[in-house]
């Protein structure tokens, strides 16, 4: 590592320390910080559910980072895919009566197929063009998705009542059962994807293409096939994320933008195109959002600012993020 690289890493660490300290400072100045046992239990609950939340974020952010890593396309429609996943789950829950997790068995293949079609119809033509073209094209795609969903489901907020019970961890710390289930699913899926990328033949081909598409092609890898699988996988991850989000929060067609920006923040924090970085970034964002919602007055409305702030400052301080390579 070069010296400037190391220095910017220190700056980033310093910034993150400040970012995590800020909610406490704001909370203390508003009298929201009490060192009683009860408050500490609250804090522990919030951090814990932040981690649970972050696991789900991390999973769908991996989809964004995969597409970027392999094709250098910034997929601005990623959050809309998450939103679409939430609606698919909702529709199969209310119209077909299928359990949200069981629904993954057919929504995931559907999403994979959707991703492949998308790749063939739209993204194949964008690979290799200036990054802005990809961003604009996927942005347009996102709009089409938002308003198509709106046409079908209207703008009403939807929720899925699922596993509303709580899990007692200690006598004072409890988290929602749906959060625990989501987290477990997210971990399982992330681990599956990790193993696939690490050991499967196709997974290795994806990593090779991400490293250098031309050399991969020369080595006999079907690069277009890799693109196809990558986008399919990314869409499936987003839809899985949507399913796991839908059993915890309300959603409407326009919530996708928030997920897009959260995924951007995670990917940028973790390092663009870096799989492990995205996982770490997801957990970090989850915890920060939890702290903001607990400590800052009016916190539930301010939560979104955590992602936007992280994204902008990390881009400014160290565009490569925590684990990223220096841009060539």
């Amino acid at each position: 590592m070069e010296r400037s690289d190391v220095r910017s890493l220190y700056w980033l660490a310093g910034f993150l320390a400040c970012a995590y300290a800020l909610p406490f400072v704001v909370g203390a100045s508003n009298g929201n910080v009490h060192f009683t046992e009860r408050w500490l239990a609250y804090l522990a609950t919030v951090v814990l559910s932040g981690i649970l939340q972050g696991g789900v974020y991390a999973m769908f952010a991996v989809g964004l980072t995969l597409i970027f890593g392999v094709m250098r396309i910034i997929n601005a429609a990623h959050g809309e895919m998450v939103m679409m996943g939430a609606y698919l789950t909702w529709a199969s829950f209310f119209h077909l009566g299928v359990d949200p997790l069981l629904a993954l068995l057919f929504t995931l293949p559907l999403a994979f197929l959707f991703g492949m079609v998308l790749q063939r119809v739209l993204l194949d033509g964008v690979v290799g063009q200036p990054e802005l073209t990809g961003l604009l094209v996927t942005f347009g795609l996102g709009l089409v998705m938002i308003y198509t969903v709106e046409l079908i489901f209207t703008t009403d907020f939807r929720t899925i009542p699922y596993a509303p019970a709580t899990v007692q961890i200690t006598s004072t710390i409890a988290v929602g059962q749906n959060k625990v289930i989501s987290f477990a699913m997210a971990v399982a899926i992330s681990a599956g994807v990790y193993l696939f990328l690490r050991f499967a033949r196709q997974g290795k081909a994806i990593r090779a293409t991400a490293l250098n598409a031309e050399v991969a092609m020369v080595c006999g890898i079907n690069v277009r096939g890799v693109y196809l699988i990558t986008t399919g996988l990314a869409a499936a991850l987003a839809v899985a994320g949507g399913a796991l989000v839908s059993i915890q929060f309300g959603f409407n067609p326009e919530t996708g933008v928030v997920y897009t920006l959260q995924a951007f923040a995670i990917v940028i924090l973790g390092g663009r195109g870096n799989y492990v970085g995205a996982l770490i970034g997801g957990l970090m964002l989850g915890v920060l959002e939890g702290l903001v919602s607990l400590l800052v007055p009016n916190g539930t409305a301010m939560v979104e600012l955590a992602a936007y702030g992280l994204m902008i400052f990390v881009l400014l301080i160290r565009p490569a993020g925590l684990m990223g390579m220096k841009e060539a």
Binding site: G140, Y308, L315
Partner: protein, 312 residues
């Protein structure tokens, strides 16, 4: 182009403005406000074009300045009893200051990262407008005292539009504009040739924030009620970007053509298909970005239908 041609073109803009000035008395209230909103989108598309077309920094967050203008107007009129016209100026000043504050760090980012950061900045502004109750009345929004205002807002928007077109024209044909284009084509080379790129980018960004703020103020006074979701609406940024891209970004005539064309289509379709026109917007963006990156004007120039100098 010669000095005479420039004078002729500027005179043309003024004549065009005067022609629009006699219209409102002769048409229905509906048509009058339709024209007003068309002019508003001309203003928005042209100002977006100054930073994103001339300078090449695609902003996905320009609605922030529009919203800031609308809020400045609403707060000063409703809570401080100002007359609405000076609030437009105040809004422009506030928006320009915010633009400089946001732009100084964010304009260091290149291409797509600038675009994403601006998207985040605009969403952040919306959240702040929602949360800062004591100043903005939060999610409740702000209402104005009810008055008949279709004439004054029409004329205010007309003056603003003529001003914006004139400024865009002058920028497009000045050394300043040439330097902005140099930044767009190759920022490193521009810097090596002695262009103070940071300064010029900031100036372009500040300039492009002023007009949307004034337009936001006029619009707020026209519809008499604002709240965070309505004035910090992502779709307004999208409209600005799409109108200028469709017409041909980086030109002066392009965004005007794009704005008039798209707003008319939108007006004709939204009554019957309230969400369909938004789906069409998405498709348009895809098509324009993929197949016509230089827009209708680029298309026309390539075929010799328009002279490069006229639109550039």
């Amino acid at each position: 182009m010669s000095r005479r041609e420039h004078l002729r073109n500027l005179a043309l803009i003024v004549v065009f403005g005067l022609a629009l000035a006699v219209v409102p008395g002769t048409v229905s209230v509906y048509l009058r406000s339709f024209l007003m909103f068309t002019m508003m989108y001309v203003v928005l598309a042209l100002s977006w074009n100054i930073i994103s077309g001339f300078t090449g920094y695609t902003s996905f967050g320009h609605v922030a300045f529009y919203g800031i203008g609308a809020y400045t107007c609403a707060i000063l009129v409703a809570d401080y009893g100002w007359h609405w016209i000076p609030t437009l100026l105040a809004g422009a000043v506030v928006a320009a200051l915010v633009a400089l504050a946001i732009g100084y760090p964010v304009l260091r980012l290149k291409g797509p990262y600038f675009a994403i950061a601006m998207l985040g900045a605009a969403e952040g502004t919306r959240v702040i407008a929602t949360v800062w109750d004591s100043l903005t009345h939060g999610g409740l929004g702000i209402s104005f005292p009810n008055v008949e205002n279709s004439f004054p807002t029409y004329y205010a928007m007309l003056i603003l539009m003529v001003l914006t077109i004139a400024v865009a024209y002058v920028v497009g044909h000045s050394r300043f504009g040439v330097r902005l284009n140099a930044i767009r084509e190759d920022e490193g080379a521009a810097e090596a040739l002695g262009v103070n790129t940071t300064l010029y980018k900031l100036a372009a960004f500040g300039l492009s924030a002023i007009f949307p703020a004034a337009a936001g103020g006029i619009q707020a006074y026209k519809v008499l009620y604002i709240d965070p979701p309505s004035v910090f609406f992502v779709q307004i940024t999208i409209a600005m970007a799409l109108m200028s891209m469709l017409g041909g970004k980086g030109t002066v005539v392009g965004p005007i053509v794009g704005a008039v064309l798209l707003y008319t289509i939108q007006e004709l379709t939204w009554v019957n298909f309230p969400t369909a026109h938004l789906i069409a917007y998405g498709l348009f963006i895809i098509i324009v970005a993929r197949f016509m990156p230089r827009g209708l004007m680029g298309f026309a120039i390539d075929r010799g239908w328009a002279r490069k100098g006229m639109v550039h």
